[in-house]
């Protein structure tokens, strides 16, 4: 995720004890050497681009001179550090070798150079390097970390007297996910098994020093992604200390007034971004709730509950006289990337959802008077929603001054369980049938649809929605699940260029969560 939304007079508040706790939990990364599986050509295919295998395996290239190129396929998506041998052929090298390197998670990325890029966010996310090798032969070690399956090496120039051979190409792939911890998958459904496999790869490549949102971009810790990664983690890699580390980081480094930020940077030292999002701050509550439910780690719950409660207090400040979250023109709440999506109703539902989880945590901690306050706030917010946001005639929740009907609003009210249980299911059935208003556009939003369906007894529809949406990415050849997938527009991007979309994205890794939590016999 990447968008601009800077809070005013931003400053960072630091809880050093929490930060120390988080740093003590920094994981050791597991490194695996990965070799190219073959050589490919990238060619147009319909509206998209695809790779065609030219040869299986890769030992060494033919000699390459000015303008020559080789495109290597590492067989799957990896996150890591690339190195290769560059050996001169011909006379002693009488000029440096100049190489252009492009790395892509999918073939399309290799077709867009930095020079062609027209998108809104930084072109620096395009994985393209220009390097000079002054002394040959050499082992070229690229210092940066890349997320990729394809590596294109183009010789910009050698000299008329020599060429170069590329050999011994290796990617030192890194992750903090340990496959030895994976519980077995027992499904007999090959579609589910395939969805699980690609989910795990997505999770694995996003699990680094923290749960990153995407290892290509933004390579950092976003709360919205963390919540879903943590849920998936509990039923897959079970690196619960990594969740704990991330919770302590968010609690250690807050914005003005103790507000949990939307994301954190890890380098050069941990710091909170100046982006605040209403829903993401509340997901601190939710992630802590889920963490305790999965681990029973009471000490963490005790230490971090005040941070969670603070987010609820700050959110309640945003209620208007009717008890409804105040709508804003800015990018104040995420929900989804849908064009024109109004966030008010979704925000209200998430507030209710988080208040209930806060109340449950208060009960776990035995602070019943706090629990009562939170239950009461949840009840009032729910009643206000029914009074002001529920459109009885249309049978949907509406959002904003224009009384917008969107999928996201319905999904989140179904998750917040504001209606009676059977009415939640009817709401979702009506949604699937009528397909009203602003649709869902990200796997993140589809996750909440599937979760709402499962939680409200519509398992069949849940499986069908999951297979349809994530299965579509599989059919497009995804090795890892994408940040954004619009079945009707392969080139869709919220950034003005698909080249900077992330094609291994944490919030898209949840089929494994659903399959293993609900459909793993």
């Amino acid at each position: 995720m990447a968008i601009t939304n800077r809070i005013e007079n931003f400053h960072m508040e630091v809880n050093q004890a929490f930060l120390d706790e988080a740093e003590a939990l920094a994981p050791a990364l597991i490194t695996t050497e990965i070799f190219p599986a073959g050589v490919v050509e990238i060619a147009p295919s319909g509206q998209d681009w695809t790779s065609r295998t030219v040869s299986q395996g890769f030992d060494r290239s033919r000699p390459l001179g000015r303008g020559d190129s080789v495109c290597l396929d590492f067989g799957d998506h990896w996150v890591g550090y690339v190195s290769f041998a560059l050996t001169p052929v011909g006379s002693p090298p009488d000029a440096p070798a100049c190489l252009r390197l492009r790395l892509g998670e999918i073939p399309y990325e290799l077709t867009v150079g930095k020079a062609d890029y027209q998108g809104e966010i930084s072109s620096s996310w395009i994985q393209e390097e220009l390097i000079h090798v002054d002394v040959l032969p050499a082992r070229v070690r690229l210092p940066r970390r890349y997320a990729f399956r394809y590596l294109e090496i183009t010789v910009v120039d050698t000299s008329p007297k020599y060429q170069v051979v590329v050999s011994d190409v290796v990617c030192a792939a890194v992750t903090s996910a340990d496959r030895g911890k994976l519980p077995p998958l027992n499904t007999g459904d090959p579609e589910l098994a395939a969805l699980d496999r690609v989910s795990l790869k997505t999770m694995e490549d996003c699990m680094q020093s923290v749960f990153e949102d995407g290892p290509k971009r933004d390579r950092r810790l976003w709360l919205g992604d963390l919540r879903l990664q943590a849920q998936t983690n509990y039923v897959t890699f079970q690196n619960n200390d990594l969740v704990k580390r991330c919770l302590y980081l968010f609690a250690a480094l807050t914005q003005n007034e103790g507000r949990v930020g939307a994301c954190l940077f890890l380098e050069p030292c941990p710091q909170v971004d100046d982006t605040a999002l209403f829903d993401y701050a509340l997901f601190f509550v939710s992630t802590l709730h889920d963490y305790y439910a999965a681990t029973g780690d009471r000490k963490t719950l005790e230490e971090l509950f005040p941070t969670a409660e603070r987010q609820l207090e700050l959110a309640l400040r945003e209620l208007d006289g009717r008890g409804i979250v105040t709508d804003k023109d800015s990018w104040w709440c995420f929900l989804d990337w849908g064009e024109g999506l109004n966030k008010q109703a979704g925000a209200q539902a998430i507030l209710i959802y988080a208040l209930k989880q806060g109340a449950v945590m208060a009960e776990w901690l035995g602070v019943s008077e706090r629990a009562a306050v939170l239950w009461d706030a949840a009840g009032r917010a729910a009643r206000a929603a029914l009074d002001c946001l529920w459109d009885e005639e249309r049978g949907f929740f509406v959002s904003g001054a224009q009384r917008q009907v969107s999928w996201a609003s319905q999904v989140w009210f179904a998750l917040a369980k504001v209606l009676a249980p059977e009415d939640n299911a009817r709401l979702l059935e009506r949604l699937l049938e009528q397909k009203p208003g602003i649709p869902l556009v990200t796997p993140y939003a589809y996750h909440h649809l599937v979760e709402a369906l499962v939680e409200n007894g519509l398992s069949e529809q849940a499986v069908s929605a999951m297979k349809g949406y994530w299965g579509g990415m599989l059919q497009e050849g995804a090795d890892t699940f994408w940040e954004l997938y619009d079945p009707n527009d392969p080139l869709a991007s919220p950034y003005g260029s698909r080249a900077v979309n992330s094609f291994c994205h944490a919030w898209s890794s949840t089929p494994a969560y659903f399959i293993r939590r609900y459909w793993n016999p």
Copy 2:
């Protein structure tokens, strides 16, 4: 110099004792921190480009975002390693910073990108880098060595949320020349003083681990350049061990049959190139002769004389039945870059020149029978030249089957002193008056003209030629003397693009030699 001319079945012969001797003489480099003198704009000026000072001094740039650029002027030509601080301004950096760096010895180079380059030799000589800085703030240290006065830093992208400030820019300039060793210059002529100053800077920047031909390109040890650098060195920086090191390197690493190569590479380990040039091999003789004359280092003369003698033997093999060096179609002898220049007469003269120096060395060593053989060979080669190459009617030496009259042929015969002393002077006067045939095009060839004039008593014409030619470069704003200078064509290049010409070139640094040897009262 850079051209392709590969000897057949090339192999390298190694004299390890000589190599050890050379390596023991590797100089310590002197490092000096150089800071930008100001900010400039590069703009067209007639057929060329020039810099216009925007501000004196440079502390830090204004914040730079996508597409912004700053061009720093380091006030003079330097060879070294650049580093700078890159500090973000705005929100915490949410994307890498991507920078394009261009470095130029003269303004023109900053106007030609790698993508635009159409020359014959490698575009990798264009000093242009694309770098990504993932973690900010950062001290960016460019690992490569550059030769430059101008450094242009362009921000390809940061992100919409932050910009960067460039500050604390420094060049760690390196040289093995010690200005403390410079004898004083006593000339009262400001033109000569200016030529001396720029010559010294050129020498200094070419004096590194060896005498490089040019620190931008080719950054290596060519014999033709070494001979002139050594001559200049004896009257300027007096780093005689550096000359000795280079002589031992050439003698240690020879081509097939003990032939001294035209140039050596130093990295990854010392090795001789596969280029052989008739004249350059003979300049080993000449350089050793000059070294002993300057230093009286008898041990080196004794050890390296056999290598020198071997070059004379190999050259004598090339004589035809008439006793004239066999002409060839290939690039077998350098002399100059003049278009269509035939090398036969120049090669004959250089052979005579070197045979005489060989004979003198044999006398120094007291091996009189060897001296007699060499004097005899020189005499026979000179008589053959007078018989076959001297055109009495035209009053010039002719070269090749087409009996070409060129400046280079006359200059070298004047240096070889084949005619009677007064006839040499007349030959040169005739040359300056009639301006026949193929002209001289490089400072290297102009050096030999000036040397021939001085040696034959035409001092006034020598000074005038030197002031006219090198002074022209001064008028063009040269900080160091150029590899190539054609007063009538600012864009001239032997490589198809002026962007890869060297603008600090060893063979152009000899005004200091002339001034200090002949005109320093």
